[in-house]
Protein backbone atom coordinates (compact mmCIF):
# COMPACT_ATOMS: atom_id res chain seq x y z
CA UNK A 1 0.00 0.00 0.00
CA UNK A 2 1.48 3.31 -1.01
CA UNK A 3 0.78 6.57 0.68
CA UNK A 4 2.00 10.05 0.07
CA UNK A 5 5.69 10.03 -0.68
CA UNK A 6 6.46 13.05 1.43
CA UNK A 7 6.25 13.30 5.21
CA UNK A 8 3.03 12.67 7.07
CA UNK A 9 3.54 15.94 8.80
CA UNK A 10 5.12 19.20 7.77
CA UNK A 11 7.83 19.18 10.38
CA UNK A 12 9.14 15.75 9.33
CA UNK A 13 12.20 16.00 7.16
CA UNK A 14 11.42 14.64 3.67
CA UNK A 15 15.11 14.01 3.04
CA UNK A 16 15.34 11.79 6.11
CA UNK A 17 12.12 10.07 5.16
CA UNK A 18 13.32 9.35 1.63
CA UNK A 19 16.62 8.06 2.94
CA UNK A 20 14.73 5.79 5.34
CA UNK A 21 12.57 4.44 2.54
CA UNK A 22 15.68 3.53 0.60
CA UNK A 23 17.43 2.05 3.63
CA UNK A 24 14.44 0.03 4.76
CA UNK A 25 13.52 -1.36 1.37
CA UNK A 26 12.22 -4.94 1.77
CA UNK A 27 14.88 -7.60 1.41
CA UNK A 28 14.59 -11.17 0.21
CA UNK A 29 14.76 -13.92 2.81
CA UNK A 30 17.65 -16.40 2.52
CA UNK A 31 17.27 -18.93 -0.29
CA UNK A 32 15.03 -21.87 0.60
CA UNK A 33 13.25 -19.97 3.39
CA UNK A 34 9.74 -20.80 2.17
CA UNK A 35 10.66 -24.46 1.66
CA UNK A 36 12.02 -24.69 5.21
CA UNK A 37 8.85 -23.15 6.63
CA UNK A 38 6.63 -25.48 4.61
CA UNK A 39 8.73 -28.52 5.61
CA UNK A 40 8.50 -27.58 9.29
CA UNK A 41 4.78 -26.95 9.04
CA UNK A 42 4.13 -30.29 7.38
CA UNK A 43 6.36 -32.10 9.88
CA UNK A 44 4.18 -30.93 12.74
CA UNK A 45 1.10 -32.88 13.64
CA UNK A 46 -1.46 -31.94 11.06
CA UNK A 47 -2.85 -28.57 11.97
CA UNK A 48 -6.05 -28.72 13.89
CA UNK A 49 -8.85 -26.96 12.13
CA UNK A 50 -11.45 -24.92 13.94
CA UNK A 51 -13.89 -27.79 13.36
CA UNK A 52 -11.34 -30.22 14.75
CA UNK A 53 -10.81 -28.10 17.82
CA UNK A 54 -14.57 -27.95 18.34
CA UNK A 55 -14.85 -31.71 17.98
CA UNK A 56 -11.99 -32.23 20.43
CA UNK A 57 -13.71 -29.99 22.96
CA UNK A 58 -16.95 -31.85 22.40
CA UNK A 59 -15.23 -35.23 22.89
CA UNK A 60 -13.58 -34.01 26.09
CA UNK A 61 -16.90 -32.73 27.41
CA UNK A 62 -18.61 -36.00 26.48
CA UNK A 63 -15.90 -38.03 28.21
CA UNK A 64 -16.24 -35.87 31.30
CA UNK A 65 -20.02 -36.25 31.36
CA UNK A 66 -19.67 -40.03 30.86
CA UNK A 67 -17.14 -40.30 33.71
CA UNK A 68 -19.33 -38.28 36.09
CA UNK A 69 -22.42 -40.28 35.10
CA UNK A 70 -20.60 -43.57 35.63
CA UNK A 71 -19.46 -42.41 39.05
CA UNK A 72 -22.97 -41.36 40.04
CA UNK A 73 -24.44 -44.60 38.66
CA UNK A 74 -21.92 -46.68 40.57
CA UNK A 75 -22.58 -44.77 43.77
CA UNK A 76 -26.35 -45.08 43.34
CA UNK A 77 -25.94 -48.84 42.72
CA UNK A 78 -23.88 -49.23 45.88
CA UNK A 79 -26.46 -47.38 47.94
CA UNK A 80 -29.22 -49.52 46.46
CA UNK A 81 -27.29 -52.69 47.29
CA UNK A 82 -26.65 -51.51 50.82
CA UNK A 83 -30.32 -50.64 51.26
CA UNK A 84 -31.41 -54.05 49.91
CA UNK A 85 -28.98 -55.82 52.25
CA UNK A 86 -30.33 -53.81 55.17
CA UNK A 87 -33.89 -54.72 54.24
CA UNK A 88 -32.98 -58.42 54.02
CA UNK A 89 -31.25 -58.31 57.40
CA UNK A 90 -34.26 -56.57 58.90
CA UNK A 91 -36.59 -59.20 57.44
CA UNK A 92 -34.43 -61.97 58.89
CA UNK A 93 -34.38 -60.37 62.33
CA UNK A 94 -38.16 -59.99 62.25
CA UNK A 95 -38.55 -63.61 61.15
CA UNK A 96 -36.26 -64.77 63.94
CA UNK A 97 -38.19 -62.72 66.45
CA UNK A 98 -41.47 -64.15 65.16
CA UNK A 99 -40.16 -67.72 65.45
CA UNK A 100 -38.84 -67.09 68.92
CA UNK A 101 -42.07 -65.50 69.97
CA UNK A 102 -44.09 -68.45 68.61
CA UNK A 103 -41.92 -70.93 70.49
CA UNK A 104 -42.12 -68.91 73.67
CA UNK A 105 -45.90 -68.85 73.37
CA UNK A 106 -45.93 -72.62 72.87
CA UNK A 107 -43.72 -73.16 75.93
CA UNK A 108 -45.86 -70.78 77.96
CA UNK A 109 -49.01 -72.65 76.96
CA UNK A 110 -47.38 -75.97 77.89
CA UNK A 111 -46.39 -74.65 81.31
CA UNK A 112 -49.89 -73.32 81.86
CA UNK A 113 -51.44 -76.64 80.92
CA UNK A 114 -49.11 -78.55 83.33
CA UNK A 115 -49.96 -76.12 86.15
CA UNK A 116 -53.68 -76.60 85.59
CA UNK A 117 -53.34 -80.43 85.65
CA UNK A 118 -51.39 -80.38 88.94
CA UNK A 119 -54.08 -78.32 90.58
Amino acid sequence: MKHEPAGIDDDLDPAVEDALRRALRPVDPPPGFADRVIRRASARPSHVTAGGRWLARLATAAALVAAVSAGLWYRAGQEERRRAEGEAAKRQVLLSLEITSTRLRAVQMKINRQGESQQ
Partner: protein, 182 residues
Protein backbone atom coordinates in the same frame (compact mmCIF):
# COMPACT_ATOMS: atom_id res chain seq x y z
CA UNK B 1 -9.11 -9.49 14.38
CA UNK B 2 -9.59 -6.45 12.19
CA UNK B 3 -9.19 -6.91 8.47
CA UNK B 4 -6.56 -4.93 6.65
CA UNK B 5 -8.02 -2.58 4.09
CA UNK B 6 -4.95 -3.31 1.97
CA UNK B 7 -5.98 -6.91 1.53
CA UNK B 8 -8.20 -7.79 -1.31
CA UNK B 9 -11.29 -9.34 0.23
CA UNK B 10 -10.98 -12.31 -2.06
CA UNK B 11 -7.47 -13.16 -0.89
CA UNK B 12 -8.48 -16.07 1.30
CA UNK B 13 -10.72 -17.51 -1.34
CA UNK B 14 -8.06 -17.16 -4.01
CA UNK B 15 -5.34 -18.89 -2.12
CA UNK B 16 -7.50 -21.50 -0.46
CA UNK B 17 -5.58 -21.06 2.79
CA UNK B 18 -7.16 -24.04 4.47
CA UNK B 19 -5.13 -26.50 2.43
CA UNK B 20 -1.41 -27.13 2.13
CA UNK B 21 -1.19 -25.42 -1.24
CA UNK B 22 -2.97 -22.38 0.15
CA UNK B 23 -0.53 -22.16 3.05
CA UNK B 24 2.43 -22.54 0.71
CA UNK B 25 1.02 -19.74 -1.43
CA UNK B 26 0.69 -17.48 1.62
CA UNK B 27 4.28 -18.19 2.69
CA UNK B 28 5.69 -17.48 -0.76
CA UNK B 29 3.57 -14.36 -1.15
CA UNK B 30 4.39 -12.78 2.20
CA UNK B 31 7.82 -14.15 3.10
CA UNK B 32 9.61 -11.02 1.90
CA UNK B 33 7.46 -8.72 4.02
CA UNK B 34 7.69 -10.83 7.19
CA UNK B 35 11.41 -11.49 6.85
CA UNK B 36 12.16 -7.83 6.08
CA UNK B 37 10.34 -6.51 9.14
CA UNK B 38 12.24 -9.00 11.31
CA UNK B 39 15.56 -8.34 9.58
CA UNK B 40 15.36 -4.56 9.80
CA UNK B 41 14.30 -4.82 13.43
CA UNK B 42 16.79 -7.44 14.63
CA UNK B 43 19.64 -6.77 12.19
CA UNK B 44 20.53 -10.44 12.22
CA UNK B 45 19.62 -12.70 9.35
CA UNK B 46 19.51 -15.90 11.44
CA UNK B 47 17.37 -14.31 14.16
CA UNK B 48 15.11 -12.78 11.51
CA UNK B 49 14.66 -16.19 9.89
CA UNK B 50 13.87 -17.76 13.26
CA UNK B 51 11.22 -15.14 14.00
CA UNK B 52 9.81 -15.24 10.47
CA UNK B 53 9.56 -19.04 10.54
CA UNK B 54 7.83 -18.89 13.90
CA UNK B 55 5.34 -16.35 12.55
CA UNK B 56 4.46 -18.59 9.61
CA UNK B 57 4.18 -21.67 11.83
CA UNK B 58 1.75 -19.73 14.01
CA UNK B 59 -0.15 -18.78 10.90
CA UNK B 60 -0.28 -22.47 9.99
CA UNK B 61 -1.73 -23.27 13.42
CA UNK B 62 -4.36 -20.54 13.22
CA UNK B 63 -4.95 -20.78 9.54
CA UNK B 64 -8.70 -21.17 9.66
CA UNK B 65 -9.44 -18.29 11.99
CA UNK B 66 -6.96 -15.95 10.30
CA UNK B 67 -7.84 -16.74 6.73
CA UNK B 68 -11.54 -16.46 7.27
CA UNK B 69 -11.15 -12.87 8.45
CA UNK B 70 -9.39 -11.78 5.26
CA UNK B 71 -6.78 -10.16 7.41
CA UNK B 72 -3.73 -12.24 6.64
CA UNK B 73 -1.45 -9.27 5.93
CA UNK B 74 -2.66 -7.40 9.01
CA UNK B 75 -2.24 -10.56 11.10
CA UNK B 76 1.25 -11.20 9.76
CA UNK B 77 2.37 -7.62 10.40
CA UNK B 78 0.95 -7.65 13.91
CA UNK B 79 2.37 -11.04 14.90
CA UNK B 80 5.75 -10.29 13.32
CA UNK B 81 5.96 -6.95 15.14
CA UNK B 82 5.03 -8.48 18.48
CA UNK B 83 7.37 -11.44 18.00
CA UNK B 84 10.28 -9.15 17.12
CA UNK B 85 9.71 -6.95 20.16
CA UNK B 86 9.33 -10.02 22.42
CA UNK B 87 12.39 -11.65 20.90
CA UNK B 88 14.48 -8.56 21.54
CA UNK B 89 13.11 -8.21 25.06
CA UNK B 90 13.32 -11.85 26.16
CA UNK B 91 16.73 -12.64 24.84
CA UNK B 92 18.05 -9.21 25.62
CA UNK B 93 19.07 -9.19 22.03
CA UNK B 94 22.32 -7.40 21.61
CA UNK B 95 23.40 -6.06 18.30
CA UNK B 96 25.99 -8.22 16.71
CA UNK B 97 29.23 -6.63 15.83
CA UNK B 98 27.94 -4.46 13.06
CA UNK B 99 30.85 -5.37 10.85
CA UNK B 100 29.59 -8.96 10.86
CA UNK B 101 25.99 -8.19 10.09
CA UNK B 102 25.20 -9.63 6.70
CA UNK B 103 23.80 -6.84 4.59
CA UNK B 104 21.13 -7.56 2.06
CA UNK B 105 22.29 -7.36 -1.49
CA UNK B 106 22.57 -3.75 -2.61
CA UNK B 107 20.03 -3.05 -5.25
CA UNK B 108 21.24 -1.29 -8.35
CA UNK B 109 18.97 1.72 -7.87
CA UNK B 110 20.11 2.37 -4.33
CA UNK B 111 21.45 5.91 -4.42
CA UNK B 112 23.95 5.67 -1.63
CA UNK B 113 24.51 2.19 -0.23
CA UNK B 114 26.81 3.49 2.48
CA UNK B 115 24.27 6.04 3.67
CA UNK B 116 21.55 3.36 3.70
CA UNK B 117 23.77 1.02 5.65
CA UNK B 118 24.53 3.69 8.23
CA UNK B 119 20.88 4.60 8.46
CA UNK B 120 19.92 0.96 9.06
CA UNK B 121 22.42 0.82 11.90
CA UNK B 122 20.96 3.97 13.41
CA UNK B 123 17.45 2.57 13.09
CA UNK B 124 18.65 -0.57 14.88
CA UNK B 125 19.84 1.60 17.75
CA UNK B 126 16.38 3.11 18.35
CA UNK B 127 14.25 1.93 21.28
CA UNK B 128 12.25 -1.19 20.39
CA UNK B 129 8.83 0.39 19.98
CA UNK B 130 10.11 3.40 18.01
CA UNK B 131 12.19 1.11 15.83
CA UNK B 132 9.13 -0.93 14.91
CA UNK B 133 7.12 2.23 14.23
CA UNK B 134 9.84 3.47 11.85
CA UNK B 135 10.06 0.10 10.09
CA UNK B 136 6.31 -0.18 9.63
CA UNK B 137 6.17 3.41 8.39
CA UNK B 138 9.06 3.34 5.90
CA UNK B 139 9.34 -0.32 4.93
CA UNK B 140 5.63 -1.06 4.82
CA UNK B 141 4.53 2.52 3.98
CA UNK B 142 1.82 2.41 6.63
CA UNK B 143 0.08 5.43 8.06
CA UNK B 144 0.25 6.12 11.80
CA UNK B 145 -3.36 4.95 12.22
CA UNK B 146 -2.53 1.56 10.70
CA UNK B 147 0.64 1.27 12.76
CA UNK B 148 -1.36 2.08 15.87
CA UNK B 149 -3.77 -0.76 15.09
CA UNK B 150 -0.97 -3.21 14.47
CA UNK B 151 0.91 -2.29 17.64
CA UNK B 152 -2.29 -1.81 19.62
CA UNK B 153 -1.21 1.60 20.79
CA UNK B 154 -2.74 5.10 20.54
CA UNK B 155 -2.21 6.98 17.27
CA UNK B 156 -0.84 9.98 19.16
CA UNK B 157 1.81 7.76 20.71
CA UNK B 158 2.81 6.43 17.28
CA UNK B 159 3.08 9.95 15.89
CA UNK B 160 5.20 11.20 18.77
CA UNK B 161 7.47 8.14 18.55
CA UNK B 162 7.86 8.73 14.85
CA UNK B 163 8.71 12.40 15.34
CA UNK B 164 11.21 11.67 18.08
CA UNK B 165 12.81 8.85 16.10
CA UNK B 166 13.15 10.97 12.95
CA UNK B 167 14.60 13.87 14.86
CA UNK B 168 17.10 11.56 16.51
CA UNK B 169 18.01 9.89 13.21
CA UNK B 170 18.42 13.21 11.46
CA UNK B 171 20.70 14.59 14.15
CA UNK B 172 22.83 11.46 14.13
CA UNK B 173 22.99 11.38 10.35
CA UNK B 174 24.04 15.01 10.21
CA UNK B 175 26.82 14.22 12.66
CA UNK B 176 27.92 11.25 10.59
CA UNK B 177 27.49 12.32 6.98
CA UNK B 178 26.32 15.93 6.96
CA UNK B 179 22.96 17.32 6.00
CA UNK B 180 20.97 14.84 3.93
CA UNK B 181 19.56 17.61 1.75
CA UNK B 182 22.94 18.78 0.56
Amino acid sequence: MMPDPADPPSQAAESGPGDAAGFEDLVRRHQRMVFSIAFHFLRDSAAAEEVAQDVFLRLHRHLDSVASSDGVVFWLRRVTSNRCIDYARQRRFRLMSLENVPEPAVEPHARDPLLSRRLRRLVASLPRQSRMVVILRYQEELMPEEIARILDTPVASVKSQLHRALRMLREKMIRVVGDLRT
